[in-house]
Amino acid sequence: MKKLVNDPKNVVAEAVAGFGVAHTDIVRISTDPIFIVRRDAPLAGKVGLVSGGGSGHEPLHGGFVGFGMLDAAVPGAVFTSPTPDPILAATKAVDGGAGVLHIVKNYTGDVLNFETAADLAAAEGIEVRSVIVNDDVAVKDSLYTAGRRGVAGTVLVEKIAGAAAERGDALESVAGIAERVISGVRSMGVALTPCVVPHAGEGSFTLADDEIEIGIGIHGEPGRARIKLEPADAIVDRLLGPILEDIPFAAGDKVLLFVNGMGGTPQIELYIVFRRAAEVLAEKGIEVTRTLVGNFTTSLEMQGTSITLLKLDDELTALWDAPVQTAALRWGR
């Protein structure tokens, strides 16, 4: 394992500390328990947005704390959901009296720990609503699974719900907007290489030189199928197919097309993927009206990509376009 780390046990604490020093204009850091909070939190009368989860997906979630997006992010150990304590502390730190929305990715650990934190916060008189993001079409949502996973679509939920909170929406409304994004967003990913969790020191799985994993999540877990390497365009078609069928997306739809890097893929490859995805959507009469390309929901150094589609309407588009000022996503100010 070759990593730019000191003691693997301190990876998250040191990275969060560095993040705090690098972005003093946007965030403050709590070191015990560890969480990242918007510099000017709590904002009286504004709904607070808290997300979090295991570390290793950066910039998710800390990179999205700031004006127009999250009020706090709670990073757990690498790929391990945070415990309720820091979630509770972050929830209190952002409560401006208008209640707090928890944005939770659909993993057993995240759901359970956020649930406990929400109960504890409620016991302290804070109104908490939770939404569960589950955009990954690689996993069937059925009785026979823990349900679809939350992956890169989470970024879109955080941005759009964050804009709704920033414009002054009440908790119910912000939660409703988040649910609308969740109902309209679908993703699927592929890995070319595994990632190495610092405390594990070994690849999360093993792939031969000519193999790729289709339908991977963001925790270095194996995917649904292992196939031989194919040209980028063929891989894109494999990812887009299940996404398009799922809601389904149809001709005439306006969408946000988001090509996400898993952390170790050169940008040049993400744009090759984007090119093909845009081409397929154009052929199908689906109109790409907004775009996002880059490493936004990663699995450490994994090479690979995921494609996310979100159905847009005028309101969601306006909320997407609204100003945002975070370490990883910024426009309009």
């Binding site: 757990g76 690498v78 415990t83 650990g109 406990t116 690689a138 823990a146």
Partner: protein, 212 residues
């Protein structure tokens, strides 16, 4: 030994040592069908428990030990295992509140409460390839042993053996809960990490009870 607070502390102390010893094994099981952190999570949690065990007042009961284990695991483990083990120990603590020494009935109540706590939080059923598949056979075996007149240590020995068999039995299954469920057929042939850590923990309970 008597199944009192000394035993409860010995169990947890040995459990912590066992989690540390099997850290890499559990990481590897979890790498195969999960995300590779289970051993790290359990080790982190039990090391944190160890640091707090000595702070317990002299007049503490086994239930106080389990309560401490529960709150510490909840606030240090994270992931799925943290809330699940945390709830298990919390419910177990409630089941034996106030008892200074646990008899066979109390042990069965403890194990049942722990298992029920896991099911309450995680909603898994038997055969879903989770830690429940270690705990439920353990509860059943403990109950049967008690009905057969076994004493405390023997009840725990039966539970541990059943948990080990239960963990092993998960190997050929498809998973329906937790991360392994994402894998479909590909989970076949791999033992569930949480079932394995549960078996290890119950074996520590039996081993310490068997000592003197």
């Amino acid at each position: 030994m008597n199944l009192d607070v000394t035993w409860a502390k010995a169990w947890i102390t040995t459990g912590a040592a066992v989690m540390n010893e099997h850290r890499v094994e559990l990481i590897n099981l979890d790498r195969e069908i999960g995300d590779g952190d289970h051993g790290e999570n359990m080790d982190r949690g039990f090391q944190a428990v160890l640091l707090k065990l000595d702070d317990l007042p002299a007049e503490a009961n086994p239930g106080d030990v389990f309560k401490l284990v529960a709150t510490t695991l909840i606030s240090t483990v994270g992931g799925a295992a943290g809330p699940l083990y945390g709830t298990a120990f919390l419910k177990a603590a409630v089941a034996v509140t106030g008892s200074a020494e646990l008899d066979g009935a109390a042990l069965v109540a403890l194990l049942t409460a722990a298992r029920d706590g896991i099911v309450l939080r995680g909603k898994a059923e038997s055969g879903d390839k989770t830690m429940v598949d270690a705990w439920t056979p353990a509860v059943d075996a403990a109950d049967a042993a008690r009905a057969g007149g076994a004493d405390g240590p023997a009840i725990l020995a039966a539970a541990a053996a059943a948990a080990e068999a239960g963990a092993e039995a998960t190997e050929p299954w498809v998973a329906r809960k937790g991360r392994a469920s994402y894998l479909g057929e590909r989970a076949i042939g791999h033992r569930d990490p949480g079932a394995q850590s549960s078996a290890l923990l119950l074996r520590a309970a039996a081993d310490t009870a068997a000592g003197d």
